[in-house]
């Protein structure tokens, strides 16, 4: 792992590390904690979704790495029978010393709801900064084997679609709907998506919820260690309900020098989708 950056930014939790036999490491990423432990025959992955017994706090901002940990330090974790802790073992004839942790975006679209409804007047365009929780991919870089993927924060499920019959299962998150980048707190277990919303219709557009196609977005890392996704533009026009969604290629304008860290989960030829902003719940009577 790289040392802490000079301007006081926390150490990024992702990267490739080498662990000796019978040693381990501990990664605290957002609300969840991950332990990796290597013996000569197995890799053991221990994951705890929240720092304490209660529910995970999506805003907890932790990013620290403790390694190497000796067998004695790891013993309480390896022998735990806490039901909140999930342990998986991966056995090999001979384990490789190097293991990589990589951030990845959500595997389903994320529906973001502003805490207060946000209106975009006609002929106006705004940029919102939305952050979504990341997944941690654990891979063996030498043999390019993917071991496991765990969410740094398990977002709640939600349904996005015109009715209960037709729609798509998504993750739900709430957003403060920040319009300025410097107002956005830095959280290392979340990636920021600049979302530009253009309203070309004659009526003001009420933003009640926004569906981000995260599985089609690539992940970038900027110089400070901040994680970005590709920028997304949503255009609402008068002649149609909902909006056209376009994924911009390349790093976002706010971090032009950012390097590509992860490819999109699903590649699609079309960069255009359609989406809606309005409430679907009005359709559901008791």
């Amino acid at each position: 792992m790289e040392p802490s950056t000079p301007n006081g930014d926390p150490t990024p939790w992702w990267g490739t590390v080498s662990l000796d036999v019978r040693t381990g490491g501990r990664w605290a990423v957002g609300p969840s904690t991950l332990w990796l432990y290597r013996t000569d025959r197995e890799w053991r992955i221990v994951h705890r979704p929240s720092p304490d017994a209660g529910a995970a706090d999506p805003l907890s901002n932790r990013s620290d790495v403790t390694m190497p940990l000796s067998e004695a330090d790891m013993a309480p974790v390896l022998d735990t029978d806490d039901p909140a802790v999930h342990t998986s073992r991966y056995s090999f004839g001979d384990t490789e010393p190097r293991i990589a942790l990589r951030p990845a975006l959500a595997d389903r679209p994320v529906v973001s709801r502003p805490e207060h409804p946000l209106y975009v007047p006609p002929e106006e365009s705004v940029t919102l900064y939305l952050s979504t929780a990341l997944w941690i991919q654990i891979t063996l870089p030498d043999s390019e084997r993917k071991l496991q993927e765990v969410p740094s924060f398990r977002m709640s499920d939600t349904w996005f679609g015109p009715s209960t019959v037709d729609g798509e299962l998504c993750y739900a998150t709430r957003t403060a709907g920040r319009l300025r980048l410097d107002a956005l707190p830095r959280r290392d277990h979340r990636a920021v998506t600049p979302l530009r919303i253009r309203n070309t219709a004659a009526d003001p557009l009420a933003l009640e919820r926004v569906q981000l196609p995260t599985q089609h977005l690539a992940l970038y890392t900027a110089s400070g260690g901040r994680l970005w996704t590709q920028a997304v533009t949503m255009t609402h026009s008068a002649d149609r309900e909902g909006a056209d969604v376009q994924v911009r290629s390349g790093p976002p304008a706010d971090a032009k020098a950012a390097e590509r860290l992860q490819e999109p989960r699903e590649t699609t030829k079309k960069s255009l989708f359609t989406s809606t902003f309005s409430a679907v719940s009005t359709l559901f009577a008791p």
Partner: protein
């Protein structure tokens, strides 16, 4: 012996024997071709639809084998028009004799056309819930969740109410929650909503519903409805009650059991109540509620 031999050779080389052999060959070829064509059609048009694959396979097999059989019969010298006429009369006779089977066959065709469910769906018919294994000519076969094989005649399926539990992607779970009369109902609503919010399997939208059901005998009753993905229905149904109970305990919200108050009336003296361990001064306190 010699005579027998020549007789056998005569029979085998006679034109009738040759045509019988040809007919047999035609039927065999028809069966093989029907099976091949069915498999081919299923692979072409119904790669991931088990039900359509089954229909295509059966249709191709019966159609092609039927044609080849008719041709084989012609080979044997049967006049098919006579045969069809005879079959017409026979059908009436058989129809009367096998009403049930015939109605099942017709019902089966309607079921296939209407498609209220497909192979692999979970359905409930007359109180039996199970996974559809196959939709056949006479019956639908189910596997119940305690692993029993259930055969339901197609006629019953057409006549009775069939519920498909897997048709739509999301489902609602309705829970009846009763709280004591002393509780603050606003707080109860908040606690329930927070429980739904914390459970990741509980869908945020459609939003959970709390519907007032009435002032019950010993509790105020609400219906708490949460939505889940159909696959997670059982997980959520089992986890949500545990979480509600935990949250209620944490906030000191009482889930009451039926209460019965014994009252002796204003005309009579109160019940003497004595606490264990106390020997004197039986205080005439109000009677304790008693579970029934």
């Amino acid at each position: 012996m010699e005579q027998w031999w020549t007789l056998a050779v005569d029979y085998l080389t006679s034109p009738q024997a040759v045509s019988a052999l040809k007919a047999l060959l035609k039927i065999l070829v028809g069966l093989a071709l029907g099976r091949l064509a069915g498999n081919g059609l299923a692979r072409l048009f119904a790669e991931d639809d088990a039900q359509r694959a089954m229909i295509l396979r059966r249709g191709a097999l019966y159609g092609i084998a039927g044609l080849f059989t008719a041709s084989a019969l012609m080979e044997l010298g049967f006049d098919l028009s006579v045969l069809l006429g005879a079959a017409g009369i026979l059908t009436v006779a058989i129809g009367f004799a096998s009403q049930t089977s015939a109605s099942n066959v017709i019902s089966g065709l309607f079921l296939l056309g209407e498609r209220p469910f497909a192979v692999g769906d979970v359905i409930r018919v007359n109180g039996t819930t199970g996974e559809v294994l196959s939709v056949d000519l006479l019956s639908v076969k189910l596997r119940t969740f305690d692993n029993l094989f259930v055969r339901i005649p197609n006629e019953t399926m057409i006549k009775s109410e069939v519920t498909n539990l897997r048709r739509f992607p999301i489902r609602r779970i309705d829970l009846q929650v009763g709280v004591a009369y002393k509780e603050d109902l606003r707080e109860v609503r908040e606690v329930l909503m927070e429980v739904a919010d914390r459970n990741p399997l509980c869908l945020e939208e459609p939003t959970p519903l709390i519907i007032f059901q009435g002032y019950g005998d010993s509790s105020i009753n609400h219906q708490f409805s949460v939505w889940a993905k159909t696959e997670h229905f059982l997980d959520l149904r089992n986890s949500i009650p545990v979480e509600i109970k935990e949250a209620f305990d944490e906030h000191d919200i009482e889930i009451p059991f039926p209460h019965r108050t014994l009252y002796t009336g204003s005309e009579t003296t109160p019940f003497p109540v004595q606490q264990a361990g106390e020997t004197d001064d039986p205080s005439p306190s109000a009677p304790d509620p008693e579970p029934t």
